[in-house]
Amino acid sequence: MAYSEKVIDHYQNPKNVGTLDKAKQNVGTGLVGAPECGDVMRLQIEVDEESGIIKDAKFKTFGCGSAIASSSLATEWLKGKSVDQALAIDNMDIVEELNLPPVKIHCSVLAEDAIKAAINDYRVKNGLPELVEEKKHH
């Protein structure tokens, strides 16, 4: 299968690979997927407490090129967004931006799940109620 230019670019030059201190109050961590399924994503956000803006985002991903590209793109999109804006990121936006073929849509779903999981972790840490999954994935 041929990868799109954008997937190859993210794979070769991934943005925001790394680890944030998950013990910090303003850091939310999402770990989704499973080794048995062939992909695991860990996505972290660091929220500016005053403004509620995501000031940093990092990822590490075990998976195929599309999974790596999806998480790399997600961290780029997260930075500078408010937590509420971040919640609006849809997996199909990732599919479109990266030109993912149908067999790789699950990679984008995983990235959206990782965003939601990181936000939830941040919310719970800060005494906010956990978000209930209401949206059906494409």
């Binding site: 990868y3 190859i8 794979y11 991934p14 690979v17 680890t19 770990l31 989704v32 997927g33 499973a34 080794p35 048995e36 399924c37 062939g38 992909d39 695991v40 994503m41 860990r42 590490k60 991903t61 075990f62 998976g63 195929c64 090129g65 999974a67 790596i68 067999v103 699950h106 779903v109 995983l110 799940d113």
Partner: protein
């Protein structure tokens, strides 16, 4: 020697045609185009002679009689004809077949079909090296057993089954022994007499011959074996396989067998040295594991798992320059990782992290050196990006985590 890119290390999937094979084939597309079954003119005679000569070349490679060679379209057809053909021919004797879980899909799916039409199939498990247990095999034989179908060498891990011991057990119980010799024939000495093989499917394109041609060996003496044809038509190949002979393909197949006959020994030695170099180079990486027996295997094959990186992601790091295949699910249409690796007892995580290397006649040492470096660099880079690697390095037990399966 200058390094030639891209590097092809997927010789278990297919091999390039040897130029000598192509040269032998060319006249049979144009001036010698006759139908080998045309008995009334010289065009047909020329074709028939060419097929007869190729049949001798093929037979010689496996120490068979030329009359025991049935030309087919390839190993998948040979597997189907051998197994279904025996099942139908020996229906009065029984309906039970014994095979193994690590067989090629052409054998497994054929066996599934036989189960659907009322046959019984026993699927033997393999141990963590990929080998069947001979005692288990013998215990599985019943008075209804007509066939044991166990491959010679495995396509994913290169592991060689104990063919001679299997055939002894088959003989002892009066059961026929079929083997899929696709990966082994032309790579290591395969001798149907010494090995006690009754039927064997193999293919030209795995041994530097053309695609679309192969053979089924069917024993004619001690015992005389017969298979029921699976295609009806002009009664070619002694009635076992109808259809106009693929004369250029068969000529190429014969030539490929002749070359293997002459060069196999030296080539096997050369490739096992290169394979060991590749393997030892890659095993310098932490948490790298060779899958399957390292003792009983083909000289040109290795299969390695690089824990905590995913196979397809790994290949993306170098697949512009190096052609390989992975046991990861992402490379195939199915979502399950390699069933062969899973049969060895590998967890899905290790199966997802595997690469299959098949060296070949045209692999050079420079290519092996390049491959070691390119793969090592990519593994290291991807591990830096892998949350699992980080957890492993932090001493986190990955089994203690509740993963969200999706």
């Amino acid at each position: 020697m200058e390094l030639k890119l891209p590097i092809y290390l997927d010789n278990n999937a297919t091999t390039p045609c040897d130029p000598r094979v192509v040269d032998a084939m060319l006249p049979y597309f144009t001036e010698k185009f006759g139908n080998a079954a045309s008995r009334s003119h010289s065009f047909g005679w020329t074709g028939e002679e060419a097929v007869d000569y190729a049949r001798e070349q093929v037979a010689k490679l496996i120490n068979a009689d030329p009359k025991e060679i049935i030309f087919t379209s390839g190993a998948t057809e040979g597997d189907n004809l051998g197994i279904k053909g025996v099942y139908e021919m020996y229906a009065s004797k029984g309906n039970h077949i014994i095979t193994a879980t690590t067989e090629h899909k052409a054998v497994l799916d054929t066996c599934k079909h036989i189960e659907k039409i009322g046959g019984q199939v026993t699927y033997l498990q393999v141990n963590d090296e990929g080998l069947i247990d001979l005692q288990e095999l013998e215990n599985a034989i019943t008075d209804k057993t007509i066939l044991i179908a166990i491959m010679y060498g495995n396509n994913e891990i290169g592991v060689l089954q104990p063919v001679r011991e299997i055939s002894k057990i088959a003989r002892k119980h009066g059961v026929l022994f079929f083997t899929d010799g696709t990966q082994a024939v032309g790579k290591i000495p395969v001798d149907v007499q010494a090995d006690g093989i009754d039927l064997m499917a193999f293919s030209a394109h795995k041994m530097y011959g053309p695609k679309g041609v192969g053979a089924l060996y069917v024993r004619r003496k001690n015992p005389r074996v017969k298979v029921t044809a699976q295609m009806d038509g002009g009664g070619h190949e002694r009635g076992m396989r109808s259809g106009t002979m693929n004369v250029p393909g068969i000529v190429g197949f014969g030539k490929a067998c002749e070359i293997c006959m002459n060069e196999m020994e030296a080539e096997g030695k050369r490739l096992s040295i290169l394979r060991d170099k590749l393997e030892n180079g890659l095993m310098q990486l932490e948490e790298a594991y060779v899958n399957g027996s390292r003792e009983h295997r083909l000289p040109h094959v290795t299969n390695i798992s690089f824990k905590y990186v995913e196979g397809e992601g790994l290949m993306m790091g170098f697949n512009k320059d190096i052609a390989l295949s992975s046991g990861s699910a992402c490379t195939s249409a199915s979502l399950e990782p390699s069933y062969v690796l899973k049969a060895l007892g590998l967890g899905d995580d290790l199966a997802h992290s595997s690469l299959r290397f098949g060296l070949g006649r045209f692999t050079t040492e420079e290519q092996v050196d390049y491959t070691i470096k390119a793969i090592s660099d990519t593994v290291i880079k991807l591990r830096e990006m892998s949350p699992l690697w980080e957890m492993f390095k932090d001493g986190v037990d990955l089994n203690s985590i509740e993963w969200a399966h999706h």
